[in-house]
């Protein structure tokens, strides 16, 4: 390799290194913070001097955090299942059927993707209090389902377009019943797309803070982002830094693992529509 080529390779490899550090630095920091004993929290050091699990014990013993974790998981999972289910019907129709108004559905989904959630907070707040949905799971599931539908419809349509649907006919010719053709031919082909859409939708619902802050008030339905943001320590005037850091690590690690495991599919899902354009 020429000197110039070697220099170029080194340059790109240094770039790789920078990206990895960029992505991991704040994560390493919050993990480090969560492991510092209370006395060391204010030592301004990036790495902990001593390691302690006291903050993890504290948040798990507290009533607030486990309740929020349960709410977050339950609400995000139900919203994801509903959103992906509705989006599957719509995406199938958009890809496979010819009907007037097909573009209208896509346009509606696009405009909702751009919609500012703050604009519906007031009306939902008022409505939910009127019909008893304020501070309930359903009160969050409904907006999450709706605001993730565009993402799900778009991702699924992009994946469904790639499926060789005619295989279904071939299986039928070979003597499979319609149900068998669906179960053994179409479903396995569609599954990766559905799964990817589900991860993206889940991350959206899991991440939301605005709806959770505005439409919940107690442990009944308050999700993790809202619980962490409103965490109160022993003293009202101090942020419970250690507890916040430990809670952050607990909610970040599982999602990060899922994302790392299915990295390729998520990248494909996020960029599915963009490449088509």
């Amino acid at each position: 390799m020429s000197a110039r080529g070697l220099l170029e390779t080194l340059f790109w490899r240094a770039g790789t290194f920078v990206i990895v550090v960029y992505a991991l630095l704040p994560v390493a920091w919050i993990v480090s913070l969560s492991l510092k004993p209370a006395g060391d929290l204010n030592d301004n050091r990036f790495l902990p001097r001593r390691i302690s699990l006291e903050h993890y014990r504290a948040i798990l013993d507290d009533a607030q955090f486990p309740a929020a974790l349960w709410n977050s998981v339950g609400i995000a999972v139900i919203a994801t299942v509903l959103s992906v289910l509705l989006a599957m019907f719509a995406a199938y129709a958009i890809v496979r059927l010819r009907f007037r108004g097909r573009d209208l559905v896509l346009a509606a989904a696009l405009s909702i993707a751009m919609f500012p959630p703050i604009a519906v907070i007031g009306p939902l707040f008022n409505l939910w209090r009127g019909i008893g949905l304020y501070d309930t799971w359903l009160g969050l599931i409904l907006p999450y389902m709706t605001f993730t539908l565009p993402l799900a419809i778009w991702t699924l349509s992009a994946f469904f377009r790639e499926i060789p649907w005619d295989l279904d006919k071939a299986a039928r010719v070979d003597g499979a019943t319609p149900l068998q053709a669906f179960r053994y031919v179409i479903a396995p082909l569609a599954a990766p797309g559905v799964f990817t859409a589900a991860i993206l939708v889940f991350i959206f619902a899991w991440n939301d803070f605005l709806f959770a802050a505005a439409l919940t008030s107690t442990n009944d339905a308050r999700t993790v982002p809202a619980a962490i943001a409103f965490f109160t320590g022993s003293s009202r005037f101090e942020l419970p830094t250690g507890s916040i850091a430990a809670a952050s690590v607990v909610v970040t690690v599982p999602v990060a693992l899922v994302v790392l495991l299915f990295q390729q599919r998520i990248v494909a899902g996020l960029t599915a529509g963009a490449v088509k354009g």
Binding site: W12, R13, G15, I19, V20, A23, P26, W29, I30, L33, L41, N44, L86, F89, A90, A93, R98, F99, A107, A108, L110, I112, M114, F115, P116, I118, A119, V120, I121, G122, P123, F125, N126, L127, P143, L149, P150, W206, N207, F209, A213, A214, V224, P225, I228, A229, T241, A245, S248, T252, V255, A256, V259, L260, Q263, V267, L270, V275, K276, G277
Partner: protein, 292 residues
Amino acid sequence: MSERYDPAEERLGWLLCTPAVLAMLLVTAYPILYAIWLSLFRYDLRFPDERAFVGLANYASVLTSEVWWQSLASTLVITIGSVTLELVLGMLFALVMHRVFFLRRTVRASILIPYAIITVVAALAWKFAFDPVTGFVNPWLGLELAWFGERWSAFVVIILTEVWKTTPFMALLLLAGLTLVPQDLLDAARVDGANAVQRFFRITLPLMRRALLVALLFRTLDAFRIFDTVFVQTRGAQGTETVSIVGYHALVTRLNLGLGSAVSVLIFLCVILIAVLFVKVLGAGPAAEEGR
């Protein structure tokens, strides 16, 4: 063009789309109409008996208040600052990911980490990092700065947090655009003596125009709605209130549905304005629809 539709197929198509369309209309179209209606009333949940029709008075008081214009300015500073930085950084990352085969999977996996982290968590991590009491940033930079004590430095941290969290999304969209640039064209230009900078600005960038504008549109609208990071890091102190924070405080903190709804409707109009401007630049509307 005489397109023929099969009635049974059409009916099935509509049947399958109805649940999704209904859900979207119920939780967005209906509330926004309700918000427009509410914005015409003096309506404060703490004094529900004083509810009265006031026409456009709520809009008048929002548009003549300093709070609204300052928050709009803050929102624009954060939006323009973060989207510009993200674009540059995202493009650099995309170029690196496009070129490097060494540790390719590791890079693509690690860049998804910021995307997967809850925004509130990211905002707190950076808040603690910059905090003079707990953080490592001041000692590393040799400074003694109360970052959240002043407007400009609070903006620096807010923008940095936003950039950290959303650059990966931008980078991945741009990477997808980069893969569409034909390598032959770049090789031919190289043979003809074009250097790397010329190749990038004369060939790569123009060919990526659409991917670039779509990524910019989505990120700009997203940044304009910024709420989580500012709420967690400053609660709007030091003049860092964004329009979403102003709306939230009016609606949820002060329970003033009339005034808060007027703010909501104004934000909605701003978003439409930004979208229209982008679509104008993009050229054809349908292209923008395909783009997502």
